[in-house]
């Protein structure tokens, strides 16, 4: 088993964990965390694929991932700000309707 596959599999595991948080958790901040874990898994898979084969790693995925990380941080900040305003407006931190309570 090659090294890159170990990293890619770890990324796949992170994707599954992140999706779990994103889909099944009710707390909005837990969902945002799940989305970040999911993104981290995608970045890990992408970088692992760039390292396949002989010679130096492909620089293109590296450039796109560093771009993606910064955008993910900014998106998380915006999501948290929206969460704060939602809490101020409703006093709640989940988006389940009254029927689901």
């Amino acid at each position: 088993m090659s090294t890159w596959l170990l990293y890619a599999s770890s990324g796949a595991l992170l994707v599954a964990i992140g999706l779990h948080g994103l889909i099944l958790r009710r707390h909005l901040i837990r969902r945002i965390l799940g989305l970040n874990v999911l993104g981290g898994g995608v970045f890990a898979i992408f970088l692992a694929l760039a390292a396949r084969g002989d010679g130096p790693a492909d620089p293109l995925p590296h450039a796109l991932v560093i771009t993606g990380i910064v955008v993910a941080v900014a998106g998380t900040a915006l999501a948290l700000a929206i969460t704060v305003r939602y809490f101020e407006a409703t006093g709640r931190l989940d988006i389940d309707g009254p029927d689901n309570r």
């Binding site: 595991l13 599954a16 760039a50 130096p56 450039a63 910064v70 915006l78 700000a81 704060v84």
Partner: protein
């Protein structure tokens, strides 16, 4: 129980099995991928010597995929705009980002941050200075600088700015507009929008590499200001 620390329902074994199967399937698909071919990466490797850059990632970010980098800056500014609007100037004044802690802890943390902040800023300068030749660059440097500034505010070493403070706005929008301006100059001198200008007439200042280093310095300031401002707009004392 308040909304902040509400309990979560227990995940059913079926869901867990489903996510486990998903991870396994993803890993299997990845393991069956055909042998690596990096046509775009090879093209970068072939053309990199002409730019005198040692770091291929910087070459991709500022030459071959420079439009991606420009749009990423635009996305950062969009997120900042959203946070500034949501934070709201009225309600922002009563929110303190600094961590609540006893006075003696505050003194120690502030003393430690006063030692660490200059070191962190030096590391950021180092990261952008080597970015053209070795791993490093504008985003890494900007992130490190922003993290140092955030810690300084958290422990009360520095006063807390508003996310829309004029200095932060000048750095955030100035670096973006400067980036576009360089791209417009490139449209004239090198014939394509966002081509990094390689001409420094009447001076000989090192061609495209000099342009890229200057752009990286501007981008570092912008990234640091935007990430710092984003953190200042998100109050951690939710619901107190």
């Amino acid at each position: 129980m308040s909304a902040i620390d509400q309990a979560e329902p227990r995940t059913s074994p079926w869901w867990l099995a489903g996510f486990g199967a998903l991870a396994l399937a993803l890993g299997l698909v990845l393991s069956t991928l055909p042998e690596a071919a990096h046509p775009a990466g090879d093209a970068v490797a072939q053309n990199l010597p002409a730019t005198d850059l040692g770091n291929p990632v910087t070459g991709v970010l500022l030459l071959y995929r420079v439009l991606d980098t420009l749009l990423e800056k635009a996305a950062l500014l969009g997120a900042l705009g959203g946070v500034v609007v949501l934070a709201g100037r009225q309600s922002f004044a009563r929110r303190a980002v600094s961590l609540p802690m006893p006075a003696h802890s505050q003194a120690t943390a502030s003393w430690l941050a006063a030692i660490l902040l200059p070191a962190v800023l030096v590391i950021a300068v180092y990261l952008v200075a080597i970015g053209a030749d070795r791993p490093g660059g504008a985003f890494q440097a900007g992130t490190v600088a922003a993290a140092g500034l955030i810690v300084a505010v958290l422990v009360g070493l520095r006063p807390q700015p508003q996310p829309a403070a004029p200095s932060l706005r000048v750095a955030a929008y100035g670096s973006f507009l400067g980036f576009v301006a360089v791209g417009l100059v490139g449209a004239v001198t090198d014939g394509a929008f966002m081509a990094m200008p390689s001409l420094w007439l009447p001076f000989d200042l090192g061609g495209v590499k000099t342009t890229i280093i200057l752009v990286e310095i501007a981008l570092t300031l912008g990234v640091a200001a935007i990430l710092f401002a984003l953190a200042m707009g998100a109050p951690p004392r939710l619901g107190r």
